[in-house]
């Protein structure tokens, strides 16, 4: 479980997060939504200790990341897989080596086992046969899927997704959303999805945390969004390209007319 307690963060005179507290329960998928610049990615980076809070604490499985020594922090980070916004694939390596990289450093697998695991990860993200391609030869959606394959290679306990569908066409976005749901169900991982894409939220999340004006404005189950629980949240949701449709329909969103 990840527990955030009274977390505040600013950069210079700019306050980004103020007194944020919530927890991510084991096995659930939590979507963190909010406008661009609302601090979603900053909050996510605190969960893996890439940023230190100005005040407050981040607990992962009971261990406070803010007080952890660097060696302990590195051990805790091995429980995470992170899909960065741009993929963060290593340019100098081909797709195979990118996915094999964490396996070679942090597993005892033989080279044939590594090869099998890489193929397995690629098939999980529906990308068989691209192992020899360099990241520059892949499309944006493929790069994100390769990054996702790398993130799951070590079978992490937690997967954090930073804007997994930004900059992608609707069809590829759907594929990524389905992958997130599939991986959560298949691997039983705890997931945090940072996004402002309501389609992603409704397709993959169990709960939603809404950041607004540096605060955690609302947090609750995704189904509660249909009841329009908060006017600011409702305005955010309605401002997106889609609005909430009939939750019982097979496609949960309808085009705003």
């Amino acid at each position: 479980m990840i527990r955030i307690e009274h977390l505040s963060k600013g950069f210079g005179s700019l306050e980004v997060l103020n007194d944020i507290s919530f927890e991510v329960r084991d096995g659930e998928t939590l979507a963190i939504i909010g406008r661009s610049g609302s601090g979603k990615s900053v909050l996510m980076k605190h969960m893996v200790g890439l940023l230190k809070p100005d005040a407050g604490h981040v607990h992962v499985d009971g261990r406070d990341l803010c007080c952890a020594e660097y060696g302990e922090l590195r051990k805790l980070r091995k429980r995470f897989g992170v899909l960065f916004q741009g993929g963060a694939l290593f340019d100098s390596m081909d797709t195979f080596d990118n996915i094999a990289f964490p396996l070679e450093y942090f597993s005892d697998l033989t080279s044939s086992e590594v090869e099998a695991r890489v193929e397995e990860c690629l098939s999980l993200v529906n990308l068989e046969g691209v192992g020899a391609k360099k990241p520059s030869e892949l499309s944006g959606g493929m790069r994100k899927r390769v990054a996702l394959a790398r993130a799951i290679a070590l079978e992490p306990q937690y997967i954090l997704y930073d804007e997994p569908t930004s900059g992608l066409d609707p069809e590829t976005s759907n594929t990524i959303d389905q992958l997130i749901s599939h991986l959560s169900d298949e691997l039983n991982v705890t997931s945090v999805v940072v996004t402002h894409d309501m389609h992603s939220v409704l397709t993959s999340a169990d709960r939603v945390a809404f950041l607004h004006d540096t605060n955690l404005h609302w947090i609750g189950p995704v189904d509660a969004l249909h009841d329009r629980p908060d006017p600011v949240l409702d305005a955010f949701v309605r401002a997106s390209e889609y609005h909430l449709g009939d939750p019982s329909a097979s496609v949960p969103l309808t085009q705003d007319s």
């Binding site: 051990k75 992170v82 741009g86 694939l89 942090f106």
Partner: protein
Amino acid sequence: MSSLLEFLFSPLRALGRYSILMARAAASLDEIRTYWSNLFDQMVRIGIDSIPIVSLAGAFSGAVLTVQTSYQLESPFIPRSIIGSIVVPSMMLELSVVVMGFILAGRVGARIAAELGTMRVSEQIDALEVMGLNSVGFLVLPRVLAGVLMFPVLYVASCAIGIGGGVAVGHFGGFITAGEFMDGARQFFKPFDPFFGLIKAVTFGFIVTSIACYKGYYTTSGAEGVGDSTTEAAVLSCVFILVADLILAVTLL
């Protein structure tokens, strides 16, 4: 007032961050076995791949120095061998190593800063960290070590080819025979001279690679930031090479 204080303290802050980064790199030495392949890769990129340009610069430096020394000492009262006794120590003590340092500040320093800077702004360094890797140990330590180990090798190559260039141009240009050149070189040879050059090469190797790593590792602001880091790495390296050159000359000669 606060902006003035910021301006005054920013070099101190930069020095502090640089020192912390180097301390983290030094603390990662016990993990160097994990990064062997990275170290050898950097030794090839920084060292072996630089041999052609360093050799070219060395050869021309030695050749030009020989011609110019010959021109300045054109007198029937000065033995021609004196040219060798000026060119060889000059190459060993100063010219080959400083010219090499400047060239590598551009070739190696700029490349390292651009590479790490791009990795920073594209979140590749964050990706390394969240995998549980020590990004300083993985990226900074092998580059700095490779610089410290390979600059002396390049210095030896540059110096030898520079002296060879001087001998060749002197001989075939009719300024001084190879025998006279080498006689002059032997006459005033001090064993400390090449040793001093090696000390400079190690120092310059550390300066170029560590400044480039620092600038690249802490790059911000996207493509513009990568450009700034690359330029600053090359310029700062050249400045600190000159400063270190003077300090070493004053303290060790």
